[in-house]
């Protein structure tokens, strides 16, 4: 009887069934899509973080940049002596490479690594020195001996003055290239934790413990391609020629690795003139429940240091990935909650309305001996099945939506600075003014430090997404059914005798 009645009611009141089911379906589909996309964005964030910090890094230690002391050198300067460069004809070609600490990163004494390693709960730790190599090269005209002496501008048609010659346009102009790439000095022996744990070898070999102090470098494969470098070539880092021994790619598809160039830590310190200095320490805790304790211990042992957890690091991911993340966690969440509430309200209102309309029907059933439980069960059963129909439709629509998202496969860019201290995308170097100006010209240089990682968004269909759909359908159905059933339970059997109005 229960199923016959149920089937007849749902089929006989198709419009109500359809409206309730469609409302539920849309809400459930939206929740599913938001959930899947949010998982996708989290995965993307994780892969950006992995490419920068390596797999298994629980904590990173860095230090806040401090403004330079009075009289201390600010940004670093290219200085060319009068006889620098090679002169050919009317032009002088000059070129210089400098290796300096990366933008926004501050170095600190390498002894911090030992301090961290000795702490309880630390499984592994390795240090790195984040640097930026800048090459300034250009062409200048030969010094102008025949500069005008009278200080007046030449008038039109005045050909008495010799026009300047030389330079890149042969008319006295100058041209300069500024080229920069990021360099990460790493402990060549440490593989367990650190940036190189999230890469795989594309060509040649990786850095090995025996490479310490050797003039060797490993390149990010995509950087190597754009710089037209291959294994066996040499690369000028801060004026030192290093042999390229291997190239690596990120283990997460489409993502760039943390740095363009990887060199042994001691070599990096030596070239950059930063002996005994590091900029980051990567820490792996013995277990995930140790992370908070280890974080506190490090902060106590190194008061000047900034200790970041994976969660802090996720917050530091910037770019369109960050936009997507906040969009999904704010707008997406609220939108799906709002639509879900609306759908539940629709289901509840329709159920109440249905019970009111069927007052005489339920009164009659009670009058002929149906127990309250049987009537309530019937009402609740109808709502539950309506919810489940909506859930099934929502599951289909939601899976289709997720499929469309994956078909479009939007690419999200995210960057995570190797120091998380400042958060956000600022490239401010030491010295506020210098930093601000530095962000201008160098911001446009594509190979600048803290490269943006491109990640294709993949919204995964997980068991939990399917469980959410079914759970919400059941919840919505039960909620409407409980309220409708409560109304039906309060109907008196004498309602059956109410005269037909």
């Amino acid at each position: 009887m229960f199923f016959t009645y149920l089937r007849r009611e749902l089929a006989g009141r198709r419009r109500q069934t359809a409206i309730v089911a469609i409302g539920m379906a849309l809400a459930i589909a939206l929740v599913m899509i938001v959930n899947a996309v949010s998982t996708g964005v989290k995965d993307a964030q994780a892969s950006v973080l992995e490419s920068v910090y390596g797999v298994g890094t629980d904590l990173t230690v860095s230090q806040d940049p401090t403004p330079p002391e009075e009289g201390e050198e600010g940004g670093g300067r290219f200085e060319f002596g009068a006889d620098d460069g090679t002169t050919s004809g009317d032009s002088t070609e000059i070129s210089q490479s400098r290796l300096t600490a990366g933008f926004g990163s501050t170095t600190f004494d390498a002894s911090a690594l030992d301090t961290v390693t000795d702490l309880d709960g630390v499984a592994a730790a390795s240090a790195a020195l984040s640097l930026t190599n800048m090459t300034f090269s250009g062409e200048m005209p030969q010094r102008m001996q025949e500069a005008p002496t009278d200080g007046t501008a030449p008038t039109d048609g005045d050909t008495a003055q010799e026009p300047p010659t030389g330079g890149f346009d042969g008319a006295g102009g100058s041209a300069f290239d500024v080229n920069s790439f990021s360099v990460l000095g790493i402990d060549p022996g440490a593989e367990a934790v650190g940036p190189l744990s999230a890469v795989e070898l594309a060509d040649g070999r990786g850095l090995e413990a025996s490479d310490a102090g050797q003039a060797v470098a490993v390149l990010d494969a995509s950087y190597a391609t754009s710089a037209e470098l291959a294994v066996g070539d040499t690369i000028d880092v801060g004026g030192t020629e290093l042999e390229v021994v291997g190239t690596v790619t990120s283990t997460s598809a489409d993502a760039a690795t943390a740095s363009n160039v990887y060199i042994p830590l001691d070599l990096a310190q030596q070239i950059a003139g930063l002996d005994g200095q590091v900029s980051d320490i990567y820490v792996q805790a013995t277990s995930s429940d140790q992370i908070a304790t280890v974080q506190a211990d490090i902060e106590e042992a190194l008061p000047d240091a900034t200790v970041s957890t994976q969660a802090d690091l996720a917050a530091s991911v910037s770019g369109s990935l960050a936009t997507a993340s906040s969009l999904i966690s704010n707008l997406g969440l609220w939108l799906s909650v709002a639509v879900l509430v609306a759908a539940f309200l629709i289901a509840i209102l329709f159920t109440i309305q249905g019970v009111t309309r069927r007052t005489r029907e339920f009164g009659t059933l009670k009058a002929i001996g149906w127990s309250n439980r049987r009537v309530v069960g019937q009402v609740a059963g109808e709502s539950l099945v309506q919810g489940l129909i909506g859930g099934a439709a929502g599951l289909v629509v939601g899976l289709a939506g997720i499929w469309v998202v994956n078909l479009i496969a939007p690419t999200l860019g995210g960057s995570a600075g190797t120091t998380t201290a400042g958060g956000g995308p600022t490239m401010a170097g030491p010295g506020a003014t210098d930093g601000a100006t530095a962000a201008g010209p160098f911001g446009g240089v594509s190979d600048a430090a803290g490269a943006t990682t491109e990640v294709v968004l993949n919204a995964p269909v997980t068991i939990s997404v399917v469980a959410i759909a079914i759970g919400l359908a059941v919840l919505g159905g039960l909620l409407a059914g409980a309220i409708g059933g409560w109304r039906a339970s309060r109907l008196r059997p004498a309602e059956a005798l109410r005269s037909v109005a």
Partner: protein, 222 residues
């Protein structure tokens, strides 16, 4: 057999008290055909509610056989309605989405009868009201007289001791009215039912063994 002793029923509607039944004392022996007449608002339906265990009196005692209807809990009253009492309503009160067959079966649902026996008994009940060929139709596809026959089949399929009908012919034309009355009278005669019919119609009332008149909640014999 019904026994009513000083049965009163008052409704309170927006602080105003309405006395629907005033101190009714009455016995209805088993197997009697009783017609109840009276003006609208006189208390006919209220009396039928008391007899049908749909509601309890405000004061007084009412019993059906061994059962004290005035003091039983709702669940027990429901059980008595399911087993012993059949209802026929003025507005037929069939469930619009169910077929005639299924409507009749709803009366057997609370009795814990197997689906197969339910089906068989519903088929028999529909045949006994002359609607064997309409079993698969929904109420919307049946005439008023046919719908009331389905309702009578639903009331009788559980083989109750008592059949209560509240203006069963009120919504029907004269010809159909006589058909339905013939049917009810025939069933009463064949099955030995106690049949209580509320009616406005003197022609219907004249067929009864006993006629009661109820006005302002007070019952008088005619």
């Amino acid at each position: 057999m019904y026994t009513l002793e000083n049965v009163s029923k008052t409704y309170t509607q927006s602080k105003r008290k309405v006395t629907a039944l005033a101190d009714v004392t009455l016995t209805i022996p088993s197997g009697q055909l009783v017609a109840i007449q009276g003006p609208t608002g006189g208390g006919k339906s209220t009396l039928l509610q008391m007899l049908g265990a749909l509601d309890r009196p405000t004061s007084g005692r009412i019993s059906l056989g061994e059962s004290e209807l005035s003091h039983l809990p709702d669940r027990k009253l429901g059980g008595i309605r399911a087993k012993e009492i059949g209802f026929v309503f003025q507005g037929f009160n069939l469930i619009p989405t169910l077929t005639a067959q299924e409507n009749v079966e709803t009366a057997l649902a609370p009795l814990g009868i197997s689906a197969e026996e339910r089906r068989r008994r519903a088929v028999d009940a529909l045949a006994s009201v002359g609607l064997a060929d309409r079993a698969g139709h929904v109420p919307g596809e049946l005439s008023g007289g046919q719908q009331q026959r389905v309702a009578i089949a639903r009331a009788l399929v559980k083989e109750p001791d008592v059949l209560l009908a509240d203006e069963p012919t009120g919504n029907l034309d004269e010809e159909t009215r006589d058909e339905i009355m013939d049917l009810l009278e025939g069933l009463w005669r064949d099955r030995g039912l106690t049949l209580v019919i509320v009616t406005h119609d003197t022609a219907v009332a004249k067929r009864a063994e006993r006629r009661l008149h109820i006005k302002h909640g007070t019952v008088t014999e005619r």
